[in-house]
Amino acid sequence: MSATRREFLRATSVSGTALLLEIGWAGRVAVATDAGVFRPNAWLRIDGDGAVTITVGKSEMGQGVRTALPMLVAEELDVDLAGVSLLQAVPGPSFGRLRTGGSSSVYGSWGPLRKAGAAAREMLVSAASARWGVEASECRSERGEVVHSPTGRRVAYGSLVEAASKLKVPTDPRLKAPREFRLIGRPTPRLDAPRIVTGHTRYGLDTRVPGLLYAAVERSPVIGGRVARWDASRARAVPGVRQVLEIPSGVAVVGSDTWTAQKGRAALDVVWEEGPNAGFDSGAFRTRLAEATGRPGRRSRRDGTGLDALASAARNLEAVYEYPF
């Protein structure tokens, strides 16, 4: 993390039963209060029963964030990975940016989530040392417990959260050195796999709310086209169709279930104004691209000695890869 960045860690007790830290993606981590110092991007919560929950807005799309992000926290907090659950943050006033993209989830969370885990760990160790009346330096953390090394006394994190939540959040907690890692850098089975293989993972399409209706959208067959006129009388005659309306991307049919909406959509009569791409021809476009590759290019950078190596290589392999757009 950049030393020039301001970083906060904020904690509060939630009705005296949990330690709650607010974490900002730009490296800010702070104690949560009712007033709210800033709009955090993530939360770390440790409950009285020792349950650890992180709430983050990073969407899982196969890249593994629902495993990798808990690993960052579990590593520094010194708890078992299985004991960390991840809650999906939903857009709203409580959260700042909830963007997922650009391969940024792990490297963007790397500092803040580790720091939050490390800060919580130090607060729990401090709370335990105060309870025992011993030096914090004589205490260590170990898999969800604080241990007083000279006497072997132990106390679980959960019973320390209330006291810990009243402590000042360390601004610069000690992060583990890579050689101390026991989770980061090791192949780790995905935490969400059991739910996936039993069909219990909920995707966007699986969301259910009371009174849910379903929509199907008829879109322009040409990119950039728009609706010229439409007639929904046949669509409205489909039993279960509730509403038909024009929206920016086309004409939406709303029905009591997906099949009804799809049948209604198929029964729409839409005339499109196809716009500037109406005459677009994929074959001609491909030819134009292929011709362009034969013209002299312009060098924008030159790295390494690859061209020399190719010139003197014993064997050259050539292949052409095409991507339509």
Partner: protein, 153 residues
């Protein structure tokens, strides 16, 4: 709307639906069994695969009158605790990435292995090639199918 009785995951269920509604939408929108996924709706991607009397069937391509007397199994009914050999193999090989296609993949593999418990790689590829995975987990799928076949013997 007509009332149908269907047998899903061992339970007899009563469903009020138009006769042309594909089984996929009966499962998802009427019975709230959302483990069966909608991919293409035209029977080419395999995400909606379920078992009808033990055979792998694209649920978007059959209607209730087609399966009226049949016994239907969805991913939720294969086992609820991931104890089926195919689910176990999927976990051991850590196959899934986004996971969206995997219920269909698993149902396809389970039906295939029942008929051919000792498949070659080529037979696995042939049996699984009509199921599409955007994440590209095919290598792990092949290993998991092999592993499940070996475990089931």
């Amino acid at each position: 709307m007509p009332l149908f009785r269907v047998k899903v995951n061992g339970e007899s269920r009563s469903v009020d639906a138009p006769a042309d509604m594909p089984l996929l939408w009966i499962l998802r929108d009427r019975l709230d069994l959302t483990g069966t996924k909608y991919g293409c709706g035209v029977g080419i991607c395999g995400a909606c695969t379920v078992h009808v009397d033990g055979r792998a069937v694209r649920s978007c391509q059959v209607t209730l009158p087609d399966v009226a007397l049949a016994s239907i199994t969805t991913i939720e009914g294969l086992s609820s605790d991931a104890s089926h050999p195919v689910q176990r193999a999927w976990l051991e090989e850590d196959v899934a990435q986004c996971g969206y296609c995997q219920p269909g993949m698993i149902m396809q593999a389970a039906a295939f292995l029942r008929e051919n418990p000792r498949p070659t790689d080529a037979q696995i590829d042939a049996a699984m090639s009509d199921s599409v995975c955007r994440c590209g987990t095919y290598g792990r799928i092949r290993r998991a199918v092999k592993r499940a076949g070996a475990a089931g013997r």
